[in-house]
Symmetry: C2
Subunit: 419 residues, 2 copies
Amino acid sequence: MELEIQTYVEKLAGRAKDTCPVLASLSSTQKNLLLAKMASLLEAGTKKILDANAIDIENAVKKGLTKTLIDRLTLNEKRINGMADGLRTLLALEDPVGKTLSMWRRPNGLEIGQQRVPLGVVGIIYEARPNVTVDAAGLCLKAGNAVILKGGSEALDSNRILVQILQQALVECNLPPDAVQLIDSTEREATQVLMHQNRYIDVLIPRGGAGLIKAVVENSTIPVIETGIGNCHTYIDNDADLAMARNIAYNAKVQRPGVCNAMETLLVHEQVAEDVLPQLAADYRGAGVELRGCPATCKIINAKPASEEDWATEFLDLILAIKIVKDVDEAIAHINRYGTRHSEAIVTNNYQKARHFLASVDAAAVYVNASTRFTDGYEFGFGAEIGISTQKLHARGPMGLESLTTIKYIIYGEGQIRE
Amino acid sequence: MELEIQTYVEKLAGRAKDTCPVLASLSSTQKNLLLAKMASLLEAGTKKILDANAIDIENAVKKGLTKTLIDRLTLNEKRINGMADGLRTLLALEDPVGKTLSMWRRPNGLEIGQQRVPLGVVGIIYEARPNVTVDAAGLCLKAGNAVILKGGSEALDSNRILVQILQQALVECNLPPDAVQLIDSTEREATQVLMHQNRYIDVLIPRGGAGLIKAVVENSTIPVIETGIGNCHTYIDNDADLAMARNIAYNAKVQRPGVCNAMETLLVHEQVAEDVLPQLAADYRGAGVELRGCPATCKIINAKPASEEDWATEFLDLILAIKIVKDVDEAIAHINRYGTRHSEAIVTNNYQKARHFLASVDAAAVYVNASTRFTDGYEFGFGAEIGISTQKLHARGPMGLESLTTIKYIIYGEGQIRE
């Protein structure tokens, strides 16, 4: 059985690689026609998709999955239309492929240019969210890549029909259906084999919780882009406009607590803690936020004592850790120690501290006087994103289409040889 | 002992990380003063360096290392001056750190900028070449990074004194000596532990042969940049200027056969094989090149039969595999199958085939009518390089200072919150 899975995954990955020359040479128009076709076939296939999804949901209920997980797994007509519309939004995005970023002439006459080209084959490993199947495939294809999808086993029936429809669209556009493939297996071994297909797969992008991402980082020999773990902070400085600070701190925690750019720990300068915390705590309580404070915080407001673990936790929930610090340097040190290099904010009107914070905090996005909730492909103006990178290589922050490409040097000569 | 090594490497990596805020905030002037100081202390330390190197050489001779390996290990006054001069050439290179690549204003008034920042801590794993110790440290520091060096055990005495001198320069410039550290251990376990310091090390760059690079790719959980394996090809098309083709094919193989951008396999269109190969074979033989041909080649010239393995081999020596192909597509397919995505060349005067080859060959550098030997940081105009990336993420081709940086989004707000 293990050997069969090994062969199955290897062959599938090899077929994906074989589609790369065709995909790399597609015009933007051809890619847009494909995405539009995918969108319309998805909508036309709504009944089939819902039937398949019903099987997944039934199994999930039997297995006793949580309500949240079942909600993520569930499709309905509106969500299917949403997936189709998501594909249609890609039509308007600029195609990064083929752009020559710069070209220069060397003293020997060689003309050297940097041209954007697709990465090749992108592997996506994700949880039981069928919408990722369509979103990821659309983004990868628009950037000229083949995609191999390994979704959570709870969504297998849904993913199978979705990928069938996407492949049907490829066929109707006279394109190779192997450009989008699903690992149709619930064996753990399949993921293991997938993570070692260095010959055929150029990058793996895990999408999901911290556990999934850690497992991929630790086991993959293929380059991985880490995305989406956000233990984000907001630091309220003693030189802040306190009304603005409360507003930002409230928004960063409450507006959508379950996402990676939401704040998890609030840091407050000791000089303004007594001014800002009581009102803010009342606001948070009104929104149902559980507060966990350092000892100094607990003297000012009613909060549970925060544990060492709380500082390092991405709650993704209506829970907030609060720590009082003596200055901006203690805030920066705390963030660089416990943060996950995602999004960090300072609220201050002090020029020097704003500059110091921007320079010293090690994160993908560092804000002055704004909510961390803005770290997002659309909010940054990039359009749809494949994830938010929290690592430093290749791409950092919201990853749009450009992050799904690489460059190639093209060199025009007239017979130059090296002396 | 294993536990001791674990602790030793972890603490060392943690100390490297601690130097990052200081290094990231250095001005170009401060970094240049440091590099100049390092260069002069290296020259002043020539005697100490040669004494230490003599111990390494003596041990290498005892161990029966090959002449080539001993040559790479050997330092002399000229080579030490060369290392110092290498550091001095970095002074003139533009400092990438702090450059804001672009900044734009969003409809809500947020100003979002992409700023170049150092990667953080760079780990270099390499073989017994003491010059890499100085080169890599210089490049990493100029880009604002801390560096952890793990050189081949045969060079340990040389590396120890070199790193002592580099640290002395740091101290004399009032900078933290932990910005450059050597893993002072010959235990294999040390490298294993190093490859798992994800918390402290941002990227690993292996420099050396294919075996070393493969071992790092397969064992590291830290992101790795693969460098330097070059199974490069030159394809002589039937529409080539044959005199130019011979000139380029000779240069690509003979000018410096031991480097990664040298040609390893020559592909020749069947229509011109009889015109071009006899003269070229004579040229190669004059330079002592051993020829290994496909069956059709062996009918035209005197060559050993090439094995399947030969097509996949980076000889790094005066050995050349030759294959006759029926058209440009067979050449492209051969290159995409056996190449290592380094440097590939076509010689042709046909516009369409030149464009087709540039678009379809999957490699870091693709040439029309020039020798593959130009894939090099200096030849491309980037200056000194840390290696030539043969992977697709982050950096591709010659990696100059910019490849040792990442970007950070800096966002200026005036109280914006997400609706």
